[in-house]
Every structure is written in C-alpha cells, then in structure tokens.
C-alpha cells in the first residue's frame, strides 16, 4: 500500500520539472516568420514622409516621429491618422531633427538630434515638458512615466547609459566601454528588461552584451563571426564606416531581437533572435531594410519599408 502512494507523490512532484510544452519556454523557438497586419504610408499618400521613431501603446495606437514634416503623429489601431503635432522650430513641442521615440504607460518621450534633452508628450500629443540631459542622446528607452534611460553621446569618452528621472537628475549610470575603445566604438542601441538589466547592441562592433542594473557585464558575444568594421579617415578622425547592429528589442517571451547592419548577411534586414543568456536561437529576414525594430507587448513587430515612407506592422509567428 505504501509503495503505490509513494510513487504517486513522486509522479505528481515530477510534473512541474518536466519539459515545457513546445512554444511556452523561452528557448523553444526554432523558426520565426512574420505576417504583415498593417501598413501605414505609401509613395502616393501623405501619411508619412520619412519616419524615424515609432512606439505603440497598450490600446494599439501607434505613435510616429516624422523627420520630413517635423511632427509627431498618432495613428489608430487601423492605421488612420488621429492627430498630429509639432512643426519646424526650437520652441516647446517643435522639432528641427526629430529622431528617437519611446512610450511609457502615459507619456511619449521624443528626442531632437541636436538637443540635449527629451521632449515629453501625453498620449493626446500635448507637449508637457522637456527633461534636460547632460549630453546629446544617441538612444533612448522609457523605463516608466517618470524615468528614462539614454545612451549619452560622447566624442571620445567612455560609453555611458544614464538613467534619468523626470527632472533630468541622473539616478544611475552604467559605464559599458573603456575610454580607449576608439571614436564612436561606444555607439549602441539598448533595451531594458523588466528587472532593470540592459541588453546592448553595438553599432560599429560585432558585440551584443547584457548588463546588470548595477553595472556588471553579464555576458558578451558576437554574431557576425568577429567581423571588424573598416575605418575611414575623415578630417583628423579615424571613424568606423560599416555598421554591425542597428537596433535591439525584447519580445514578451524572453527573446532578444537584434537587427543586423551593413555587415549582416542581408544588410539592415537580418534579425538575430537570442535567448536571455545570449544563445542564438534562430534568424529571420525582414521584407525590407529598416533602421529600427520596435516590438510591442502584443507580439507585434514594427519596421520600416520604402526607405522610411512606410511603416509596417507584423505579427510574429513562432514555430
């Protein structure tokens, strides 16, 4: 009598330890395909002229920075333009060279290329304030309604990610690269996870990294076989010329998506998919070249087409 009962308990205990059903574990994916679900902007309409930044909210509204008409636009989930704000200028809510965009639950954070600060808008596109930043901004991610992380632009200094509060106070800092790495070798895209760790993709180095919130490198790996970017002498500077990785994003299932640059097999189209330990799971190819990847919580991927005239939204299909 004791024997079967003991075996029953052992069997029950073993259930949670067994392999995860296919598709549920973060490492289960072996193939990813995309299905286009929305396209905004075409060569013969005026929805978008040259979009640069994109973000989406939990209700499916899509926000886009358009460099050509100096604006921030809001589209409904079907792709219809709901509202547009901004114009060329340097006043509140105006842009000269709009670039980066991200969203928190209630706000949008936008940058202008040559402005050391972040413009904050609400979801109705009302300009709220400008968060000062100690440097020009090469990359930006919202960490919450009152917290953002930025890659501070340096000329020849160490690469830094700064975490700022809504008043621009530096709350924490990650120095991810030595001063001697070379001009622009610290150029990165990054994405934070829910625990405050950062994944970094280097623009001019074959290097993907994961960092802890307290500034410790957790892992580092290459994806292009250690390729090195060619350098070119411009004026008195020796600068890298070929891009390795253009953007990095996280889906809601523990996958890291990395967009390859010029040195990838399909330049600006190859996407590498890693697990959170940096192991390569699979790759896929975007239908068109893109400068960025944006993944929303609903397993959708946004990328560009027609050199920025078109924004595409795809459903991510996992096998």
């Amino acid at each position: 009598m004791n024997g079967p009962r003991w075996m029953l308990w052992l069997a029950l205990l073993a259930i949670p330890l067994g392999p995860a059903p296919p598709g549920l574990g973060e490492d289960a994916v072996s193939r990813i395909t995309l299905k286009e679900v929305l396209s905004i902007g075409a060569l013969d309409d005026e929805a978008l002229f040259q979009w640069t930044g994109v973000a989406a909210d939990p209700d499916g509204f899509i926000y886009v920075l358009d460099a050509m008409d100096y604006s921030l636009k809001k589209f409904d989930p079907c792709g219809a333009l709901v509202k547009k704000t901004g114009r060329r200028g340097q006043g509140p809510g105006e842009f000269m060279v709009p670039r980066l965009l991200d969203a928190s639950p209630n706000f949008l954070f936008a940058t202008d290329q040559n402005v050391a600060g972040i413009y904050v808008f609400d979801r109705e596109l009302n300009f709220k304030k400008k968060i000062p930043c100690p440097a020009l901004i090469a990359h930006l991610k919202a960490l919450g309604d009152d917290k953002v992380a930025v890659a501070a632009m340096s000329f020849q200094g160490p690469g830094r990610i700064l975490v700022l509060n809504g008043e621009g106070k530096v709350l924490s800092e990650i120095a991810y690269l030595d001063k001697d790495a070379g001009v622009l070798m610290d150029s990165i895209s990054f994405v934070p996870d829910a625990e405050g760790r950062f994944y970094l993709a280097y623009l001019f180095q074959d290097r993907i990294e994961k960092w802890s919130p307290d500034g410790k490198r957790l892992w580092s790996r290459d994806l292009l076989g250690g390729k090195k970017t060619e350098t070119k002498k411009i004026s008195t500077f020796t600068l890298p010329g070929e891009t390795c990785f253009k953007d990095i994003a996280l889906d809601g299932r523990g996958h890291v998506f990395v967009l390859g640059g010029r040195l990838a097999k399909a330049p600006s189209r190859t996407v590498f998919v890693l697990n959170t330990e940096g192991e390569l799971l699979t790759t896929f190819t975007l239908p068109d070249t893109s400068h960025c990847l944006y993944l929303d919580r609903g397993q959708f991927l946004f990328a560009r087409a027609n050199d920025g005239i078109t924004l595409k939204k795809y459903r991510i299909l996992y096998d």
Binding site: L43, D44, F49, Q50, T52, A67, M68, M96, V97, R99, Q113, N114, L136, A138, M153, F155, V183, L184, S187, L203, K232, I234, S235, L239, G241, T243, K246, G261, R262, P267, S268, T289, H291, C292, N306, D307, G308, I309
Partner: protein, 75 residues
C-alpha cells in the same frame, strides 16, 4: 520613385543638419555620402565656431546617417 529619391536627398540633409546645402551631394553615388557630409560638417565655419559641441553634432549626425541612410542609397 521620384518621391523616394527626393526624400532621400532631403533626409540626408536633415540627418546631418549642419548646413542648408551639401555641395556635390548625389544620392545615386554609391560612395560614402555619410562620410562626405561629415567632412563638410567639420569644415563648416558655423560648426567650427561652436567648438567641441559643434563637432559632437557632426558626429551624432554621422551616427544617425549610418543607421537611417545606410544602405538605402548606398554608403
């Protein structure tokens, strides 16, 4: 297609955004538009007058050019 080429040319100017004109810019040229624009930026008198900040604006323009333009119009 005309819209695309015209936009690409204007976009490049916007990305670098140092001057109202970049002499010799030809979007059909496959050789280093970002590099040539950066060189022009460094040589711009207005940029030089702003010192290190001006140089940083040139560099950040180069970064965004590399991200957004390359390889759309050849670079």
């Amino acid at each position: 297609m005309k819209k695309r080429v015209a936009l690409s040319a204007v976009l490049l100017l916007a990305f670098l955004s140092f001057a109202v004109d970049i002499p010799g810019l030809d979007v059909d040229d496959s050789g280093g538009v970002c590099e040539r624009a950066l060189s022009d930026c460094f040589n711009d008198i207005m940029i030089q007058a702003t010192g290190p900040f001006g140089a940083v604006t040139c560099i950040i323009g180069y970064i965004f050019c590399k991200k957004y333009i390359d390889p759309s119009i050849g670079n």
